[in-house]
């Protein structure tokens, strides 16, 4: 029985339509690379979170995880669409997501790490949200109008994410003996991937000069302060002198990403060029 929705307005997906700015070709190339990096980041994290759907620790939190995943996938689409426009070769958001291989993906290593237990997922999310939130706040002031507009929209979502993951860190840190052990293990697993978020690649350094992206050292200060505050409430210690892994933003990934892409690109690769 198809319901009658005659009275309901036909809804359309919202797209950003700020035109691509008049960039010099080499700057445009940088903005394109960077937009892809941002898209890859929210995509892989959104994908990871979507793996939880149906397996969460309690129904209410299962839904929360999916909501965050949906926000990230929404952000992803805006970014890939922009990347496709910047490139101007007629590729689509799906070509960007489904037809690029591991070394072409430029997400930081953190987001491709497996879900692990709920503690690992929370810690990965907390490390990311604490970056993402302050980053988006600054990106709103980007000289690139589209990135600024996308940041403005995503910031609303991220404000909720950071609240959610911060509260969970506190609950797990200051919960039971077992939850504390687990969240400490998660910190151990994931902290080495936190540093890469703030390391600037050559592309990022150049874009900083053009005013397209914010200075990560500022964001790092906000991140440190937020992490310290939450960890204190969670009665957890912020790790010191940890060796930081990096390479994801330049295409050198951990082995996990290959498997993620194999799964998510399966249909597009098996049946090339079809509409779904």
């Amino acid at each position: 029985m198809m319901h009658n929705h005659e009275n309901a307005p036909h809804l359309h997906e919202q797209h950003f339509n700020t035109p691509v700015q008049d960039y010099a070709p080499e700057v445009k190339q940088l903005v394109l690379e960077y937009t892809l990096q941002l898209a890859d980041t929210s995509f892989i994290l959104g994908h990871r979170l979507s793996e939880w759907c149906g397996h969460g620790p309690v129904l209410e939190q299962d839904m929360a995880l999916s909501n965050i995943a949906l926000d990230l996938i929404g952000e992803t689409r805006s970014l890939y669409q922009y990347a496709a426009e910047l490139e101007g070769k007629g590729r689509t958001e799906d070509d960007m997501a489904y037809l690029r291989d591991t070394v072409e993906y430029k997400n930081p290593l953190l987001v491709e790490q497996p879900n692990g237990d709920f503690g690992d997922t929370i810690m990965r999310q907390f490390i990311f949200d604490s970056f993402h939130f302050f980053f988006l706040k600054e990106l709103q002031n980007s000289t690139d109008h589209r990135l600024a507009a996308i940041a403005e929209k995503s910031l609303k979502e991220s404000s909720y994410h950071i609240k959610w993951s911060s509260e969970w860190v506190i609950r797990l840190g200051d919960g039971t003996e077992e939850s504390r052990k687990r969240i400490e293990k998660a910190i151990d697993n994931l902290w080495p991937f936190s540093g890469e978020l703030f390391m600037m690649t050559a592309t990022e350094k150049k874009l900083l000069e053009h005013g397209v992206i914010p200075d990560y050292s500022q964001i790092k200060n906000s991140w440190d302060a937020h992490v310290a505050k939450v960890f204190q409430e969670a009665t957890l210690a912020v790790p010191q002198n940890v060796w930081m892994q990096s390479g994801g933003k330049e295409g050198r990934h951990t082995e996990h990403l290959g498997f993620v892409l194999t799964e998510l690109q399966y249909l597009q690769r098996t049946y090339p060029g079809l509409e779904w």
């Binding site: 149906g54 620790p57 129904l59 209410e60 999916s66 506190i170 998510l264 597009q268």
Partner: protein
């Protein structure tokens, strides 16, 4: 005392007959309460187990748009399960107990979810057929006699109509696509058609609970009535898609203004109900695993809430 009981029962029957909703604190016969808890919790379990066959395609969805739609859809099913557990909780059942009954095999859920999803077309077929059948079953439940159940169903039905549409859209895209996509769609249709017809439950003469449930207006149509409506609705849609209904006995019956359809394999139905479907074990194991692995999380949140409440109390003192 007995007289009071009789009186209450008469009042209850009268209210139901007049289509006045029964609310949680109203007097109701024990059997009515039990029937409702059984039916609502089964329904909730079906939503939750139903997340799994589709959920395993979220990570393989072929486009960003499809991925977002499917994730939102499966998430809705979690929501529907939640609304329904809430409705059952107003009758004094606890969610933990209902879930324990699901895990122990004591409580049932819709058998359709014990079939595997093998291709992307299955996601289309489930949305179109299975959700279509579910809506058929559910729309009358918006007027069921128990208030909280009826209200939960209103919410569910409102959300569910997008589910069927997205399934139909997937089927349409496949049927209008490349030959291998069309083949994928037909193959999925062949596998899902009969199990979907079984979703309406056993034949009326073999459905022990139907009569009482109809009288209490928990159920508003019989299994066979709904099944017939479903077939009549779906056959033209299949024709529109260019798909062949996998039933050589399907014929239009002018006299009854509906289709005659072939024999349903009831042996298969009962065998799946009894736990011998292709995925029964796997589905329950997955649910049990999620529940067990979540136990420490639920415990921690509660422990933290207690600690915080204590601290606040100390502050006040």
């Amino acid at each position: 005392m007995e007289e009071v009981e009789v009186n209450l029962e008469a009042q209850f029957e009268e209210k139901v007959a007049k289509d006045i909703r029964i609310e949680p604190k109203d007097w109701m016969p024990d059997a009515y309460r039990k029937t409702l808890i059984r039916q609502i919790s089964q329904h909730a379990h079906s939503e939750i187990v139903g997340m799994l066959p589709e959920g395993n395609w979220i990570t393989r969805a072929p486009s960003l748009k499809r991925k977002a739609i499917l994730l939102a859809k499966v998430q809705d099913e979690a929501g529907h399960g939640l609304y329904l557990y809430s409705a059952a909780e107003t009758l004094g059942a606890s969610r933990d107990q209902m879930i324990a009954d699901l895990h122990s095999g004591k409580a049932k859920y819709s058998s359709i979810f014990n079939y595997p999803t093998l291709s992307w077309a299955d996601i289309g077929a489930i949305g179109w057929l299975v959700d279509g059948a579910a809506i058929m079953n559910q729309v009358p439940l918006c007027r069921t006699s128990y208030g909280p159940y009826a209200r939960a169903m209103v919410r569910v039905c409102k959300e569910e109509s997008f589910h069927q549409r997205q399934g139909f859209e997937i089927m349409m895209t496949l049927c209008n696509g490349a030959p291998e996509q069309k083949k994928m769609a037909q193959e999925a249709f062949n596998r899902w058609w009969w199990p979907t017809l079984m979703m309406f439950g056993p034949k009326d003469e073999e459905s022990p609970n139907t009569e009482q449930s109809m009288r209490w207006r928990i159920k508003r149509f019989t299994n066979d009535e709904l099944r017939q409506r479903f077939v009549d609705m779906m056959v033209p849609q299949a024709e529109f898609l260019g798909l062949t209904v996998p039933d050589k006995d399907l014929t239009w019956n002018e006299a009854k203004n509906g289709y005659d359809y072939g024999q349903i394999d009831w042996d298969e139905f009962w065998s799946v109900v009894k736990g011998n479907g292709p995925c029964n074990k796997q589905r329950i194991q997955t649910r049990v695993k999620a529940d067990q692995e979540g136990a420490w999380v639920r415990e921690a949140a509660l422990a933290h809430a207690e600690k915080r409440a204590q601290r606040e109390q100390q502050k006040v003192a």
